[in-house]
Amino acid sequence: MNSPDTALKEQTKTAPPWNVLIHDDPVNLMEYVTRTIQRVFGYSEQKAERMMLEVHQKGKSLVWSGEREKAEHYVAQLHGFQLKATLEQVS
């Protein structure tokens, strides 16, 4: 039988991740969206541009996945750049 500590660690390890999504909008310029993704996540220009195009063509893009606290931090940053970003827990 697991100790409470071990059980907590396992629960933490297996907790479903949280997704950060950027949604399309008619206002934000494509180049600005690419630059913002680069600034917030430190991605390469190529990766950020691919995500921006996905936002533009498919309406949204999954830009980051991981623990909740960090995901909330990223969404707050994206809102600070006035991008439409949401948080979703992977089901």
């Binding site: 949280w18 999504l21 949604h23 008619p26 206002v27 934000n28 310029l29 180049e31 600005y32 630059r35 909330e72 969404v75 707050a76 809102h79 600070g80 750049f81 006035q82 439409k84 970003a85 949401t86 948080l87 979703e88 827990q89 089901s91």
Partner: protein
Amino acid sequence: MKAAPTLEGGLRIDIERKSDWAILSLICIDAKGPEDHCLAEQLSQLSSSHPLSENEDWKDYVIPDLHDTFAKQIRDVAAQISAANQQLEEASSLLIKREQVDTWYGTLNQARLNLENQYQLSCLAEEELDSLVRSAKYRYEFYTLVQSWLLSVMP
């Protein structure tokens, strides 16, 4: 009105006629939007399986913080336009320094978001526009143009 990048990584806007100041001052009026408007709150209300508008910490900390950031952007740009306008006799240009580029971009973005919210400009055809909406559309397009100038010098 003309614009050119500066050697220091900023942007210089040359004022050619007095009406240019009136056009520039509209940026902050459009950015403020209606009295009860709060962009940070609006962003938190986006549809999601985990709406941030229902998150107490978000409401208590993130929204007020973002609201202050957005309000400060507008205040800074308004102060800069007003100061430059008062020095009109000596200088006929407005200098946006490298470190002010983000503030200006953010203010113009708020103005465009408000105009889009108010008039749904992206969905309207040219022939559907009355004079009020047409004026809003011209401002929206002008702000987009200035944003593209700023993007070209953005660090």
